[in-house]
């Protein structure tokens, strides 16, 4: 397209001043706005987690009162789920990369994109207001009748905050879907799309179909608490269990809203650091769609002990097992990609391999929990806590940090220090397992979740878990330090520091405002490392950045 500006003009220095950021319509800048937002909420959720783990260091309730503890785990869950895990990868990496990967200038609706960020921040601010006023003690699940009739905490404020935030997910999903359908560069067919794009397409599908259901559910809860509607109130002919059905109809697929973008990142990383096309490209692409569709059919496995009929329980149990199929397809295909690849162990690849490990443990224990009888044994114990942290947190954060490191040179134009990057990947992996593996054992022995005190014989495992959390915290703080450091002191990246394939590596680092100086035309498959194509990244294994 137009060759306005010199080679040095990029999206970061094209305009200056706070206003140029707060009113930007550039998807790359909006991605960075999300980076700041989600980092803030991650830090906040992390502080709550730290306080939880400190309390659980000793069997007695000595650091906080039970009431305070209830608020801590509720706010930890709400902040982490709704304001970090769900928006992190689509908001930051999805926004930054999808238009570049498909070879266009921006998302389909740039204004809506900026509005989504503001809605996200508004929802977060309202929730924060509720936190400052004392928080909520309902757990992140807001079950009535406790939340609607009895809890004396700020359910209204926080409920409205989460409700508002939902529209950010819906509109971002809508924007991505239209962008992927209508904005692809000439030659960019559906099966030439990077798997990153497929993963985000599947995520957007869930966001558009699932998030409105949690929106109306939370709205009804808010109306019930504020104006005494009786929809979830058994004394008025309503049914509190219906809330659980509606809540999990969204909130189970929400787990796939968190993990699918991470899987999308992992496919890119595995290809780049094995220098091979992802094995079984079509299967990996369709398994994302498969997970998205199956995700809508399994919500009842959260309700095995809610008075659901045994037939419904059996059906949900069997449907839950089916999710293992597309998940396993992904893991096996990534593993086959490693086979005979020229594997290198740079920081993003360490995160990707860590992801496979954590996801396998999280996924397999998910099959345990999908089994009716076993689930009833460990229901509401730390086994469940450990399982969903392995999947949602381990899965999402490994992909998020791996992706952030991989595309950091593209986003900022600078290379992060590789040694410290590898250190952080190791610390996160070790810290994560040390934190959560003991919780499987605790849960199997019967330690219930959401209690601030426990019998003394469980202290050793709890101390291990708290120690792991400290290592994990350090692993998260390290990147904060060296990534900021690299903004000024990092080595210049150049267009393609990894020698990777993909349109994003054919443009400058950082990219110009409209992404490409010449509109790209695509003539090869994704991950064409065999050299059949003739793109910019086609030269055999250029020197690594370090």
């Amino acid at each position: 397209m137009s060759r306005t500006g010199t080679a040095e003009t990029n999206y970061l220095n094209a305009q200056h001043g706070l206003k140029s950021w707060l009113l930007t319509l550039d998807h790359k800048r909006i991605g960075l706005l999300y980076l700041m937002g989600v980092s803030f909420f991650f830090l906040l959720g992390g502080i709550f987690a730290l306080l939880i783990r400190l309390e659980l260091l000793t069997p007695q309730g000595d650091l906080v009162q039970p009431d305070t503890y209830n608020r801590l785990f509720s706010m930890h869950g709400i902040m982490m789920v709704f304001f970090f895990l769900i928006p992190a990868i689509p908001g930051v990496l999805g926004n930054f990369l999808i238009p570049i990967m498909i070879g266009t200038r921006d998302v389909a609706f740039p204004r809506l994109n900026l509005a989504s960020w503001y809605i996200f921040m508004a929802g977060g601010s309202i929730t924060l207001l509720g936190v400052l006023a004392g928080g909520v003690d309902t757990g992140w699940t807001f079950y009535p009748p406790y939340s609607s009739l009895y809890s004396a905490t700020n359910v209204l404020t926080v409920g409205i905050g989460v409700f508002v935030n939902g529209f950010s997910s819906i509109l971002t999903g809508l924007n991505f879907m239209v962008t992927i359908h209508r904005m692809r560069a000439p030659g960019m067919t559906w099966f030439r799309l990077p798997l990153f794009v497929w993963g985000h397409y599947a995520t957007s599908f869930i966001n558009v179909l699932g998030t409105p259901v949690i929106a109306i559910t939370l709205l009804l809860l808010v109306l019930e608490r504020a104006f005494h509607l009786g929809i979830f109130d058994a004394t008025k002919g309503g049914d509190p269990v219906l809330f659980q059905h509606l809540f999990w109809f969204y909130s189970h697929p929400a787990v796939y809203i968190m993990i699918l973008p991470s899987m999308a990142v992992i496919s890119e990383l595995i290809a780049a650091f094995t220098r091979k096309r992802v094995f079984g490209y079509h299967f990996v692409a369709f398994s994302s769609i498969g997970i998205a569709v199956l995700g809508f059919l399994v919500w009842g496995h959260h309700m095995f002990v809610s008075g659901q009929s045994v037939y419904a329980g059996t059906a949900f149990s069997l449907l839950t097992m089916l999710v293992a199929i597309p998940s396993a397809i992904k893991v096996f295909n990534w593993s086959f990609t490693l086979y005979q690849g020229s594997v290198s162990f740079d920081t993003p690849m360490l995160y990707a391999l860590g992801f496979i490990g954590l996801f396998m443990i999280g996924g397999l224990t998910g099959v345990f929990l999908g089994t009716l009888g076993f689930d009833i044994h460990v229901h509401d114990t730390y086994f469940v806590v450990a399982h969903f942290h392995y999947v949602m947190v381990g899965g999402t954060i490994m992909g998020y940090l791996g992706g952030l490191h991989y595309w950091w040179p593209k986003i900022t134009g600078r290379i992060y220090p590789e040694f410290w990057g590898r250190m952080s990947a190791m610390l996160v992996f070790v810290g994560f397992n040390l934190t959560f593996f003991p919780q499987f054992l605790l849960g199997y022995m019967g330690m219930p979740r959401r209690y601030h005190a426990y019998p003394e014989e469980w202290q050793v495992l709890n101390v291990l878990s708290t120690a792991g959390a400290s290592v994990l915290g350090l692993g998260f703080l390290l990147p904060l330090g060296y990534l900021l450091w690299s903004l000024k002191y990092g080595k210049l990246a150049g267009k393609n520091p990894w020698g990777a394939k993909g349109l994003e590596w054919t443009t400058d680092s950082p990219p110009p405002t409209e992404n490409f100086r010449d509109a790209p035309v695509v003539s090869e498959e994704a991950y064409d490392y065999a050299g059949a194509g003739h793109g910019d990244g086609g030269a055999p294994a250029p020197a690594r950045a370090h």
């Binding site: 998302v107 209508r182 409105p212 109306i216 009804l220 005494h228 929809i231 509606l246």
Partner: protein
């Protein structure tokens, strides 16, 4: 053509055609999420009606069928004027476009006025859920409260969509007055029309479900 058209093309699209396709797809996806949003309410209605048809029948008898019918006619008429507005935009007729959009807005407001009178009658008769709720039939009593909870939640969400629709309509009307729309660029009018028709269709379901079908339930007799 005239420079009005080229300024309608946003910088990140290659052609007006691509822009039109993108915004239409976006609107349909938005309606999909609207279906899911109202879907939660409709599912709740079905479940509770199946559980306690008597209470639903009794509650249904206390709704004002005349006002409900009037509002149904008003909304169907507004859908007609909206369709005519889209047609006027597609055929570049500016004055009819302004006229039909105005008529649509007036009908929308009329709907809300009627709804206001219906709501205030419910308030006077203690049929609004809450501490003051009182249902005259002793055999049903508090069981009717869930019906009226659903009545207010469903019609309230619908009315909120009407209010948002009228606000959007004012914005479209401003564009029409300024001559922004003609045969080569009418996408905003068309997409707004989709939204307006969707909100109408929701009412077309609400009216029979809340006002009509309960009247023919005779307790299995």
């Amino acid at each position: 053509m005239s420079h009005g058209h080229s300024s309608a093309l946003a910088h990140h699209f290659d052609s007006l055609e691509q822009q039109r396709e993108a915004s239409t797809l976006g609107m349909w996806l938005f309606l999909v999420q609207e279906v899911m949003f109202f879907g939660g309410l409709f599912m709740t209605y079905m479940l509770y009606r199946w559980r306690d048809p008597e209470a639903f029948a009794a509650g249904s008898h206390d709704l004002n069928i005349t006002l409900g019918l009037l509002n149904t006619v008003v909304l169907i008429a507004s859908s007609l004027t909206m369709a005519m507005a889209v047609h006027s935009a597609q055929t570049s007729r500016r004055r009819p476009l302004i006229g039909y959009l105005t008529a649509t807005g007036v009908l929308g407001l009329a709907f809300l006025v009627v709804k206001y009178f219906e709501y205030s009658a419910k308030w006077e008769h203690h049929l609004v859920p809450g501490p003051l709720f009182h249902f005259s039939e002793p055999a049903i009593g508090g069981r009717a409260e869930v019906f009226f909870s659903l009545y207010f939640a469903m019609t309230g969400m619908h009315a909120l969509h009407m209010v948002i629709g009228i606000a959007l309509l004012a914005w479209i009307l401003r564009g029409a007055v300024r001559g922004r729309f003609d045969a080569s660029y009418y996408n905003p009018v068309e997409n707004f029309g989709l939204y307006w028709h969707f909100v109408d269709i929701v009412w077309i379901f609400l009216f029979p479900m809340l006002y009509l079908i309960g009247r023919h339930y005779h307790g299995g007799a």
